[in-house]
Symmetry: C2
Subunit: 444 residues, 2 copies
């Protein structure tokens, strides 16, 4: 952050600002205005011409966006909003109170507000909710010359002109042609002869995370979105998908460790909000751990006879909990990358069981050596611990890989069934298995 620019804004030196802004891009202007004094930031924002103002506006945080809208006149709001791309306008309206959203919608043309309304109607995680409707649409009978002229004439507010979509009768999507194909071709050729008819497309109702996988798989820059009847209704561009992927991954990271996901960056979230996002799981886990504690209490008789047993409980719980978390996280990640799906569940359990057995044999051997050396060559103890370890690991990995799948079957986010809940189930299992085996082995 350049301190000079900041002080120029705060001192209100408008002439200097205009010179500076001419050499900056919209992202950096938004960035520096976010850090300036609020009143001065609004003043400086007013200096920008409409197109740049709309661009800068789209990069502001929603707090500043709302502040700006509140301090502008209706005419000024109209000027910015007419230049704001559809998808940025949708993002803004989704995040502000209804009355602000209504004022913004009223400020634009009926046509634009209708389109925004339609996109707002799509479910939050659907393709429709992230698409934009600013597309270059061609028809197959156009020549390359006509197509280029039509692109040129369609104005600069199209989200991407790199990929142009070709529609037939009823606005049904029939092909795609990229700008480079048009540029490399003779001006007299027909769009219909140049277009690729193997179009990869998405339906507006599809899940946006699956769409992200389609982008990766097919190396796409943009994807056309069609209605259920095949009509072209919009596109999703890769920069929006990048945001979707980042958001979805951030959510998964949070859920895996039992934190309620939130959109705001870490340092911009208050401590009470942070605490609130984390406390539910800590409470649930405390309750669950209490249950494990109660289970241990029921084995008090065994512990009185052989207090040494207690020394192995943290190790068994730790190994089990961690093994389960490894499996669940690998499966959750595989599912969000589209590598694993519900029908794979049996394959998964079989794999994870074998992995658990391999791991537990190695852990068992290490443990056997340790007990043999440290506890007077106590064979029985070594066997009890090693056997418990194997059972715990198999259970942990089987549960770890099954629960995320079950979550998906129940249409929950697989990450909800993550490490914390699995740890709890596995901890209880580890304790019960261990004491049960110990009781048999030592006749207590």
């Amino acid at each position: 952050m350049d301190k000079n620019i900041l002080s120029i804004i705060n001192e209100g030196l408008h002439d200097d600002l205009l010179v500076l802004f001419a050499h900056m891009n919209a992202v950096d202007i938004a960035d520096v205005l976010e850090h300036a004094e609020t009143g001065k930031a609004v003043e400086a924002f007013r200096l920008l011409d409409d197109a740049l103002a709309a661009d800068v506006f789209s990069y502001f945080s929603v707090e500043i966006q709302q502040l700006i809208v509140d301090s502008l006149t209706d005419t000024e709001v109209t000027e910015i909003m007419e230049d704001l791309p559809i998808d940025d306008m949708v993002d803004f309206i989704e995040d502000v109170p209804d009355d602000v959203g209504k004022r913004v919608l009223d400020s634009v043309s009926a046509e634009k507000s209708e389109i925004v309304d339609r996109i707002l109607d799509y479910p939050e995680d659907s393709v429709g909710s992230v698409m934009t409707t600013e597309i270059v649409e061609l028809t197959p009978e156009l020549t390359v010359r006509e197509a280029l002229n039509s692109i040129r004439a369609s104005g600069v507010d199209k989200e991407t002109i790199y990929t142009c979509y070709v529609v037939g009768s009823d606005r049904k999507l029939i092909g795609v042609v990229t700008a480079d194909i048009l540029l490399y071709s003779q001006l007299s050729e027909k769009v219909g002869d140049l277009m690729d008819t193997n179009v990869i497309y998405a339906e507006a109702g599809d899940d946006r995370e699956e769409l992200a996988n389609k982008f990766s798989k097919y190396d796409l820059i943009a994807i056309p979105v069609v209605s259920r009847s095949g009509q072209l209704v919009g596109i999703v561009t890769i920069d929006d998908i990048l945001r979707v992927i980042t958001e979805e991954d951030t959510e998964d990271f949070a859920r895996i460790v039992g934190v309620n996901p939130s959109d705001a960056p870490y340092l911009k979230t208050g401590v009470f909000r942070h605490a609130g996002n984390r406390i539910i799981w800590l409470l649930v886990l405390m309750l669950a751990a209490t249950i494990v504690g109660a289970i241990i209490e029921t084995f008090e008789d065994a512990l009185t006879v052989l207090p040494i047993l207690m020394a192995f409980v943290p190790m068994l719980m730790g190994a089990g909990g961690n093994a389960g978390a490894q499996s669940s996280t690998m499966v959750i990640r595989g599912m969000s990358l589209g590598e694993i799906d519900i029908p794979d569940v049996l394959k998964l359990v079989w794999r994870e069981t074998r992995i658990a057995i391999i791991c537990s044999v190695i852990l068992g051997i290490a443990n056997f050596i340790r007990i043999f050396l440290m506890y007077d060559q106590n064979h029985t103890l070594a066997w009890v611990v090693s056997l418990s370890l194997t059972v715990t690991l198999v259970v942990a990995k089987a549960i770890g890989c099954t629960l995320p799948i079950l979550a998906k079957v129940a249409k929950l986010d697989p990450a909800v069934m993550a490490a914390p809940i699995i740890t709890t189930i596995v901890d209880a299992t580890a304790v019960i298995v261990f004491f049960a085996i110990a009781r048999m082995a030592f006749n207590i």
Copy 2:
């Protein structure tokens, strides 16, 4: 996967295949060939024309790529490799044995092999290693007409023509102009007057994860890469960045639960490989848990007097471990998104301490009520547990947010310092704090 196509390939019905392939895109052709019998897949691959063959080749897994190269003649290898984009060739050569790589490099022009060699020299996580050198380069004195002709003439093998870079003398990068600007402008205008001179660029030696954040921040589709002296050496396109982000996130997911990251998809990795990726951490954790067990043993006297204490150990360890994992994961994610950096460490500790206190007050109250009801209104026990909980949570969250920062200072991946190691430290702390407080409170 279409079973019909698969059987047509396996039966070697080449005429039918040619018809089918004409209606498929490269990704899907690669996909279906991957699933066919190996010999038949190579036969079918030979049917493709050079450009499509190169495209299909770039989507194969490295195993199939190597198999194809091994079964082709030198001339055939040359034909495909000359059509293969630089970055896909680099990816391939990085993954195959040296002799295969050498054969491929020998098959292409000296110019192309020199460029590939240069990219291979960049460190694995650098911007240079993911860039490609196929760029549209313009000079400022060209007119729009000349620029469009030059783009048209430069052939279809450029990675993207959407963004064109303008270089001055010494090939230094001086501006950028997008295809839509060229298309919307008068044919007689000069590139130098249309170009944007506020170019966002990367240096070849920069870290590729930081580059990913730059793409998100500035909504980029491609970024020019310059040498240390400012000369244009290549570009990185957003589809490659999408792959980088997915890879880095997948690595972080694995590391957070103590799994050694691997590039291969879950279901394509053998069980022994899976077990190998997970066993190191399980062994380290078992050792660490053994230490915690040993610590518990040293408090055997206290446990003999008051065996009930043991029932609270799992709860304390669970709450502490989980609270620490929450903090570390939030900080790791914040760091990889570029929201948190090393200088924020004190701010982080102060925030996390407050979060810990808020959470532990709530957990403490819940716990107090429970103990009061379940354990004959034992005030002292309730205080001991609640106090231990607070100390454990503060320590857990402070360690949880500090270790990832320390890792970054030591130039390690912050995710290495993740949940498992933090859990272990916190478990030991929880046990020691709890028994120390209990001893004082109960005079044992």
